[in-house]
Amino acid sequence: MMPTATQMLAAVQLALREHVTPQIEDQWAQSALRSVDVILNHLQARVPAEGPMLHQDTSELVTLLTGAREALGGGDPALEAFLAEAPALLAGYASVEDLQAINHTGREAVDVLLRACHAQRGQAGVDAVHAGLRAYLLRHAERESGFFFPTYVGRPV
């Protein structure tokens, strides 16, 4: 059985903590090691979870953005590109890189829709779409929370 990426990252981190960090006195080198330690924490949280997270998140975006287009109309290039490409991508085997790219496009479309909702707030149907978008944003933040919190709390450099 191969060691997982997470186990290997943890081994790198342990080696640095046990044998390198205690030997370092220069403040630039200490700062570099702190930064590397934080990145290793981040990767240990992200590597095993990012693919499934992006698949789940992008699937929700397909439903959300399809409904938003029906309510508010289409035409935004990001929205159209996302809805044209995402369903097929999600149906097959998708690499993490492909999921990152399509999720990015979907969130671009969310951003455009949020601005449209803000400009048209109070109009029939708009507020419901806006509420759905906001609820998605909070779920998206919750899904990736473990990648960044509490990993990046602490000294920034």
Binding site: V110, L114, L133, R134, A141, Y152
Partner: protein, 350 residues
């Protein structure tokens, strides 16, 4: 490559041949901009200079170095203590064209030894230090901006009532220009904050931006130079207190603010202060995310850019997600709790 030989040639070219660079040191951390302390011998006397340039690929903060230089040059003749500005170079060879500014070195330190000692004497000292900082901010905030020339190049709100709106609009433009991700949650947080913009301010002041612990030069518990002006702007003085990095927790916050108000001659609206505490979290996203762009382009592929421009930004996004839609005073309390994290000087001291 900045080394003693290149600094020697550079200072000779600017100051004449009678200058010898005896030593130099890069200051820590200096991730956005690189700062070097340069010691010289000039006709038998010792000299000291601070050489500051953009980091590779540009600064983190999306503000040109020349703007910071002009702020310092404008302040030098006033009662606000700053290091003497000597020259600005837009595209010098020593940095392969990255801009440089040079100031005279000030005798002091951004560190205050013993600040977090135990006991009543140390606590009283911390309060005095907070008062000292408050007095310097009051001097800054009461400057006549037209008479000192700042209205010529600093973006000015049309009125005191428009300070928050003006800052909001400026930073929304910056956010749209520099972001490396759609960040829709940050957009949504902006719309939430826009509903709560303060509509009054005591006056339009020159504000320092980042200020407080770690940002100023101290000697014998007095500020000898307010330093780091890259985020200076014209706006509501309450906003500077929202960015006063540990100063309001150094002593009693209300006592410190009252001391400031007495020196400045106007009051800080506590509700505005709450708003700006939350607004500064939002502003940190475009400010830091700008620093990721040279990382992504390969111009500056170093880990601090990654951690500040990506990880830290995503952390602030998470924080905005915790606050969005809440009353501003409740959101400000969340920020205050979060600010107690170990990276704050007062918590990192141990």
């Amino acid at each position: 490559m900045i080394d003693q030989q290149s600094l020697q040639a550079y200072f000779n070219a600017h100051m004449g041949g009678d200058v010898t660079v005896t030593k130099f040191k890069r200051t820590f951390p200096g991730i956005s901009r690189e700062t070097f302390l340069v010691w010289t011998e000039e006709g038998g006397a010792e000299g000291g200079y601070v050489f500051r340039t953009d980091a590779l690929g540009g600064p983190i903060c999306p503000v040109p170095l020349e703007y910071e230089y002009r702020i310092i040059a404008g302040l030098f003749p006033t009662a606000v203590p700053v290091a003497e500005p000597l020259w600005f170079d837009a595209t010098p060879a020593i940095t392969d064209g990255r801009p440089v500014m040079v100031r005279r070195m000030v005798d002091g330190s951004n560190d205050i030894p013993g600040l977090y000692d135990e006991g009543a004497d140390a606590a009283a000292r911390r309060q005095r230090i907070a008062f000292e900082h408050a007095e310097r901010l009051a001097a800054l905030h009461t400057l006549d901006l037209a008479a000192t020339g700042f209205t010529d190049f600093v973006e000015m709100p049309a009125s005191a009532a428009g300070c928050a709106r003006d800052d909001f609009d400026r930073w929304m433009r910056i956010f749209e220009d520099v972001r490396t991700d759609p960040f829709p949650l940050v957009t949504e947080a902006a719309f939430w904050l826009e509903e709560h913009l303060p509509t009054s301010a005591p006056r339009v002041s020159l504000c320092k931006g980042n200020n407080g612990m770690g940002e100023e030069i101290w000697k014998d518990d007095r500020i000898v130079a307010l330093s780091d002006w890259e985020l200076a702007f014209a706006g509501d003085p309450a906003q500077d207190w929202a960015l006063s990095q540990g100063m309001l927790t150094l002593g009693d916050a209300e006592q410190t603010l009252r001391h400031y108000e007495q020196a400045a001659g106007f009051a800080i609206d506590r509700a505005s202060l709450d708003f700006y505490r939350v607004w500064e979290v939002w502003k940190a996203v475009p400010t830091l995310n700008n620093g990721l762009r040279p990382f992504l382009s390969g111009e500056n592929p170093r880990v601090p850019r990654l951690n500040l421009g990506f990880g830290r930004v995503k952390l602030f996004e998470q924080l905005l997600g915790m606050m969005i839609g809440k009353p501003i005073d409740e959101a400000a309390r969340i920020v205050a709790e979060w600010r107690k994290s170990p990276y704050r000087p007062e918590n990192a001291a141990a």
